[in-house]
């Protein structure tokens, strides 16, 4: 039962979306519903199921971190901060913003109504403040650190250990020269057309052809796996 039902659901949903891809979306499917409505309905079900799964995520993050805090295991303070952050972002954003909202009468009989601007997700709310001044800068910092990681990875990748690595190094040097204005000016000392040749042969030729080869292979792999799942051949995603 635990295997059969998911396979049937996967087959019906997958086959429906595949078959309707070939039909005019404005055509009536049954009663007044069009094929487009049917497709959107299937996708909406996915969103609904995801909404229920969100509870599992919150339970998981609270359980794992609360256990570490209660045991005072290594790094427990950071886990406590994680827990506080979860609730600091979630609770104010879910609070009613007016007395007419659900639960608003009760909340604003306890708290002053002038505090209502702090709740919800609008500009100036606690959620917005935490997002703008804590969450967003931290994300940007993480992303900015990528430059240093690229430098260290490039140093390792471009070491001329053998013939192939040397070829990679030379190609990388040429492409990097072409990408910066000073390098481009340097290349033009040899020939005015040199930057265009690099663009045409290295980037548009070798680079694009290899990328397309990988993309075609990956697309075939994805299509093959999708078909195996729809036809019930592939069950490994259920641990079988």
């Amino acid at each position: 039962m635990r295997t059969t039902v998911p396979i049937i659901v996967a087959f019906i949903a997958g086959a429906f979306l595949t078959i309707t891809f070939f039909f005019n979306p404005e055509q009536t499917l049954f009663f007044d519903a069009t094929i487009k409505d049917g497709r959107e309905g299937v996708l909406q079900w996915m969103t609904i199921v995801s909404g229920f799964a969100l509870v599992l995520g919150v339970v998981s993050i609270v359980r794992v971190n609360a256990r570490a805090v209660s045991r005072k295991s290594e790094g427990w303070f950071y886990k406590l901060m994680t827990l506080l952050s979860v609730f600091a972002m979630a609770i104010p954003s879910m609070m009613p913003t007016t007395t007419d909202s659900f639960g608003g009468g009760l909340i604003y009989s306890i708290l002053p109504e002038s505090w209502s601007y702090l709740f919800g997700t609008a500009r100036g709310s606690i959620y917005d403040w935490l997002f703008e001044y804590l969450d967003s800068p931290m994300m940007e910092t993480m992303f900015a650190m990528l430059a240093f990681y690229i430098a260290s990875a490039a140093y390792r990748a471009f070491r001329a250990r053998n013939a192939e690595a040397t070829l990679l190094l030379l190609t990388a040097v040429i492409v990097m020269l072409w990408r910066v204005p000073m390098g481009e000016a340097f290349l033009r000392l040899f020939s005015d057309n040199l930057p265009e040749y690099i663009n045409t042969f290295i980037m548009g030729g070798f680079n694009v052809s290899v990328q397309r080869g990988i993309i075609i292979g990956a697309a075939l792999g994805a299509a093959s796996m999708s078909l195996r799942i729809i036809l019930g051949i592939e069950r490994t995603y259920m641990g079988k």
Binding site: I19, G239, K240
Partner: protein, 288 residues
């Protein structure tokens, strides 16, 4: 579903679709069926038939040759290393949701990895970014432990939801790598800008690293920072390859057959376009 019906159902759907496409296209123009997508339908029919045919041959016991994939073979070695060192295996099934086929491929591989960790009693840690992936990964890991007769060893918190934000997730996983120093890091699924942040941190932590993704823009980062990298289609082949099941390997052979057809089609197209007589040919592959 009776076995005979199960066998003929996919073929029936394909034949009916093709029949409808031709029949209705003549009578109603493009009002019911989208005739410009006929090339996709034909390719889908050939693809499905090839997969089903090879799967049937595999079921009948015909030996199918599958080339060795070093990155997938290294998965078992990596788990063995973790067992010897008494350290955990860190598995990341990408950072996309379940609607992404790469995540499904990652979850499938997780099932095989979990079976090996269950066999050797090696700790497994699976941080995830989406609740749907959490539910699926927990189910797959639990099932793997049950199948290996190690239900008691299964820790529900081995699969944990860490953060919904891309870089919050990355920061948490990087922290886990530096604190717990896993012996093996396995990245299988859809990765974006965080790929190098994760792989470089794992490299700095001294872990053996195996990555697999179908995104060509992230592959150079994994190749630079990991010991083994599965490229593109190898990610989708990994779960079938690890399972050693002839039925699943049949699906891979079907995929290879279609690849040969496509390579021939590309060569013909290249020749025709080079000779400037290929407009009719390229129009066959245009899909609106």
């Amino acid at each position: 579903m009776p076995a005979r019906l199960k066998n003929i159902l996919p073929y029936t759907i394909i034949v009916l679709l093709l029949a409808c496409e031709f029949a209705f296209a003549q009578d109603y123009g493009d009002s019911i069926l989208i005739t410009s997508r006929i090339s996709v339908l034909v390719l889908l029919a050939v693809f499905s038939a090839a997969i089903l045919l090879y799967t049937r041959w595999a079921r009948q016991g015909k030996t199918l040759f599958i080339r060795k994939i070093a990155g997938i073979d290294a998965v078992e070695e990596a788990v063995g290393r973790a067992t010897e060192m008494g350290k955990p295996v860190l598995f990341i099934p990408g950072i996309a949701d379940m609607e992404d086929i790469e995540t499904i491929a990652g979850i499938s591989i997780l099932g095989r990895v979990a079976k090996i960790t269950a066999q050797y009693d090696t700790p497994l840690a699976v941080p995830v970014r989406y609740p749907m992936v959490l539910a699926a990964a927990q189910e797959v890991v639990e099932q793997s432990y049950v199948e290996m007769g190690k239900a008691d060893s299964y820790d529900k918190d081995s699969v944990r939801y860490v953060a919904g934000e891309q870089f919050a997730f990355t920061a948490t996983v990087n922290g886990m790598m530096m604190r717990e120093r896993p012996a093996a890091n396995i990245y299988m699924g859809a990765f974006f800008a965080e790929s190098l942040l994760l792989a470089e941190t794992g490299n700095a932590a001294g872990s053996i690293q195996i990555a697999g993704t179908a995104r060509p823009e992230q592959l150079p980062f994994f190749i630079a920072a990991c010991d083994f990298t599965l490229m593109g289609e190898e990610l989708y082949a990994a779960s079938s390859y690890l399972s050693h099941e002839p039925l699943l390997l049949g699906g891979l052979k079907g995929q290879d057959f279609v690849k040969i057809i496509l390579v021939i089609a590309i060569i013909i197209g290249t020749i025709l376009v080079t000779l400037n007589i290929g407009d009719w040919y390229t129009s066959l592959f245009e899909v609106i």
